[in-house]
Assembly symmetry: C2
Homo-oligomer: 238 residues x 2
């Protein structure tokens, strides 16, 4: 009975934080009578404090009737997750986020609550932890987590902020597609390249692509394919 | 008595593999009477075989009188490094390279030989391992190494293929500079952003910037600075 929004990015260029996602989030909150949101700020973009990051989310939800509380405000973080009506994990650095979740033994708790039906929202790093491991993050390994394993709330990995190759570039660094192809020399998991503005709406057994863009699906030993809005990613796990 | 070339990239756009570095490499080989080069192909760009990757290096050195042998061709890899006249570690994926070096217990051996004066050439991932750890790689964490620690042949980290922010971009992913700034929330090591075409020529106590570009130096709690060709990075370790 999963109920999730897994988004490539929190923010679309030229728009405010979470603005493009808010209508769908609030629709789900209304249906499920959700009034309180637990925010996980551990990915700490730009190294900002957990308080400042939580304030940013509070600001996005002001005038909506939703109360936002940061997990760092709780004495018992396990209970905070277990008792949450809805959980939102924000973006930042995936290594920093995954290290914190493992250090606090919260990864498994998060997985259980997602499968138990707690509404979950992830953006960027918060979406990377929905896959089976964090091996497709674009982030810099600025800290070392105990493990790259993540929640496995979906049966494939996400590459957030997916970028198409820049055909005009003279830069010799690998393209995103090349990096994901290298992943498949060592791993046999599907990877979904989610462009900014795209998100996956997970409800029970459906995992639908939403937003204006196609997404790019990479599987081992196959050419990557483009899938349209409405595509059900659940079939990747079969 | 270190003697090293630490390069951002193996290849400049529009030029052949190692071409721009070869004159300086061959000059050093002549001075030090080096006829044999040990190649470390473990970073495996694009997942190619160790043999194919070594052949590529052999091709670059053909007609130079230098014999190239891959470390994977040796029964005893420790001895291969200890007995090498010169060592070249090629680029690819830094996580894959560092995992292999730790799994084979070669990181410390490499460090010792570099400090003992064995001529060392690194490009890209092969340069990332010259720093104290691999926490400034741009690569995707497609495998998990035992540790992020690297050789510490220099007293700072390298960010290879350094890219300036694209001011026209609407992409919301972090710029390279933002990623390195986040590194400095958790680490207190200088980081050198080496643009493609730049390399550091290490001889004894000097660590000089070579090539046509400036380099960008990042230190904790300071604004990044640009340094010119001829700058001595050794002062960063003082």
């Amino acid at each position: 009975m999963r109920n999730m929004i897994i988004a490539s990015t929190s923010t679309i260029h030229g728009s405010s934080y979470l603005a493009y996602l808010l209508p769908d989030i609030l629709k789900a909150f209304k249906i499920n009578d959700i009034k309180n949101l637990l925010f996980i700020p551990y990915a700490r973009p730009g190294g900002i404090s957990h308080d400042s990051y939580t304030d940013k989310v509070r600001e996005a939800f002001k005038d909506t009737g939703v109360t936002v509380k940061g997990i760092h405000e709780y004495e018992n973080t396990q209970d905070a997750i277990k008792n949450a009506q809805a959980i939102f994990t924000g973006g930042g650095n995936t290594f920093v986020l995954v290290k914190a979740l493992h250090d606090l033994h919260l990864m498994e708790t998060l997985r259980k609550q997602i499968y138990a039906g707690t509404f979950y929202i992830g953006t960027s790093a918060g979406s990377n932890i929905c896959g089976l491991n964090m091996r497709n993050t674009n982030d810099m390994p600025i800290v070392m987590p105990a493990s790259f394993k993540t929640t496995g709330a979906i049966g494939y990995n996400i590459n957030a902020h997916y970028l198409d190759p820049d055909t005009d570039s003279t830069h010799m660094g690998e393209t995103r597609e090349e990096r994901i192809k290298e992943f498949h020399f060592y791993n046999n998991l599907p990877v979904v390249g989610l462009r900014e503005g795209s998100y996956i709406r997970v409800t029970d057994k459906e995992e639908l692509l939403c937003g204006p863009h196609t997404a790019r699906v990479f599987t081992k030993d196959n050419e990557a394919i483009e899938v349209n809005s409405g595509y059900d990613f659940a079939q990747l796990s079969n």
